[in-house]
Symmetry: C2
Subunit: 325 residues, 2 copies
DNA sequence: ACTGCTGTTGTAACCGGTTACAAGAAAGTC
DNA sequence: GACTTTCTTGTAACCGGTTACAACAGCAGT
């Protein structure tokens, strides 16, 4: 095949011995295609690695496809995790000509309906999925919820990995830096407590949001008030970074006196170089979300998927001062 | 005109009494069009508010237009200002079918040349504009630099606004929270010093980066070391937020004892509700950058534009404790 | 064998632009 | 006045898909 010439619908048609129209019908899941024909065409498409040209489809459809992102508030727009997830989504939808649009939490005032919606930060009983269904817009949640299409990182499992990593290093005085409001925070705290209890240990809770400053102030205040621990698991990399900075300012050596583990594994954070953390596979979360959108459009039954996380050893974990008893 | 039917190139052609081809030639600045005809066609396009369909052009061109964003490093990706500027650019280029692509600082290894490039954080003698010119790629800088196309906020003027606001409130002990590395930081410090000197005052410098934690630590350390001031101008909203938090933790009342002014005016920051700040018009910066890209493509002579900023009074400025002497 | 119905496929027009080529008009040359 | 040459414009094919409609095959009923 000539380099530089992309495979078109005509190539598929010729190769499969059918007409353009039939290939197009297969592409769009039109029901009036014989099963045998559909299979043959799909085989050829797979073999020639065919992807329809988004510009041509837009031209025919007189409109582009859009993927809405529904947030619960405005400020998550600036949170590193969200920025990176959005970027990953964007880089994966752009080649298919799908455009991302930001939606306010109040979906009832959408100007134009998007082709599909990704619902972020959904909580139990969130009205958004039901509303979208009533408008015929397929939707996928980021976060787990039975009965819906969803994708979520393994928050509980990742928290266990982090906690067990600290325990294996010999730590007995554990603390969790976080806050119980969101589903994510709750899962991460639960994983942490589960692992600790399994080892017969208790976990002190230090309340904090997900931000750097939040982590800094919470840890500094707790330490100044006499709270002591040797192993700290923070619910986010940012709060972990804040914790490390606070300990540094308090003259507490990391990891000499206190070990710190974060969560998310965002490569763009300056601290990523040194922080021990549980890394999420953000590109894969994005890819899975988009695959689920396709399923939802195709009328498949709802399902969810947990995306594995990975412990990323760094320089902020070491055995506790006294060593293992 | 029927609602729902966009004006097409055929409408223009009919209305102007020429053929599709001629309209297309006018659209693309093809030189072989009589001046009289071009003027007539352009008048009709303006009157009917015509915008060519990006999908149709992509289809003909066999490729889409891309706008590259060149950063000097990776981590600015997560800085709030950059995130919001990128979002503004995106929302303005998307309707024209132009796609944003992130470029590494090392432009020599670009996979495919973008249609144009926005160079961020350019410093004097930056090799990127020259390199791009040699490859025939038009570029526009964010930040001012003679001889190039550029757009920049009025950093110096904004810093003067902020400082004069503090001075007008009665402050005599001023401090600047920032760092002299980047062009932006230098301009903002210069504007601050200019205004202070004009009022016969001096300015203490507290070194900090642009982040929340950086501002927090810098201010806290300075204050604990005995540095005193009643009016603080921070080079960014984030460092201002850090400063406010630090002062709060130190038991210093804002604005009772110390007044704080930030810079950027990012609506999505939680502190924006209360912080006195100098607001940038980010959508306008984006729009101007895109207009300059058009100029650059059209071969116009290089020019730059400062975008005005605006003092946004908040709740973090009040007269100093002793009142005006 | 004829009719009517259903299920499947081909045909061709169309989406809104671009552009190679041909054709006309105007101007210069002998 | 006939012949080039140079500008300017119209024509029609094309980019890669979608889809209304026609056509055809197979089958049941009579």
């Amino acid at each position: 095949m000539n380099p530089g010439t992309r495979t078109t619908i005509d190539d598929i048609a010729r190769e499969a011995g059918v007409s353009k129209g039939t290939v197009s019908r297969v592409l769009n899941g039109h029901p009036t295609v014989a099963d045998r024909t559909r299979a043959r065409v799909q085989a050829v498409m797979a073999r020639l690695d065919y992807a329809p040209d988004p510009a041509a489809r837009h031209l025919s459809w007189r409109t582009g496809q859009t993927l809405g992102l529904s947030l619960d508030r405005d400020d998550p727009l600036l949170h590193p995790y969200h920025v990176l997830l959005r970027r990953a989504l964007e880089s994966q939808t752009a080649p298919q000509g799908v455009q991302l649009v930001d939606l306010r939490a109040d979906l009832t005032r959408m100007a134009r309906l998007p082709s599909a919606v990704l619902v972020m930060h959904a909580v139990e009983g969130d009205p958004r999925p039901a509303y979208l269904r009533s408008r015929g817009v397929p939707c996928v949640l980021i976060g787990h919820q039975p009965g819906e299409f969803w994708v979520a990182p393994e928050d509980v499992g990742g928290a266990r990995l982090a906690t067990e990593h600290l325990i294996r290093a010999g730590h007995r005085q554990l603390a969790f830096l976080g806050h119980g409001h969101s589903q994510v925070a709750q899962d991460r705290e639960r994983g942490c407590r589960d692992s600790a209890h399994a080892a017969g240990l208790d976990v002190q809770a230090i309340t904090s949001d997900f931000t750097v400053l939040g982590g800094y102030r919470a840890v500094r205040r707790a330490w100044e008030n006499g709270t002591r621990f040797t192993g700290l698991f923070a619910q986010s990399d940012e709060s972990a970074a804040g914790a490390v900075a606070a300990l540094e300012d308090l003259g507490v050596d990391v990891p000499g006196q206190v070990s710190v583990v974060g969560f998310d594994g965002l490569p763009e954070l300056p601290i990523r170089q040194t922080l021990t953390t549980v890394a999420q596979d953000i590109p894969r979360i994005a890819a899975t979300a988009l695959a689920l959108v396709q399923d939802a459009i195709g009328g498949q039954p709802a399902r969810g998927e947990f995306i594995p996380v990975q412990l990323l050893p760094g320089a902020t974990v070491a055995p506790p001062p006294g060593g293992t008893p």
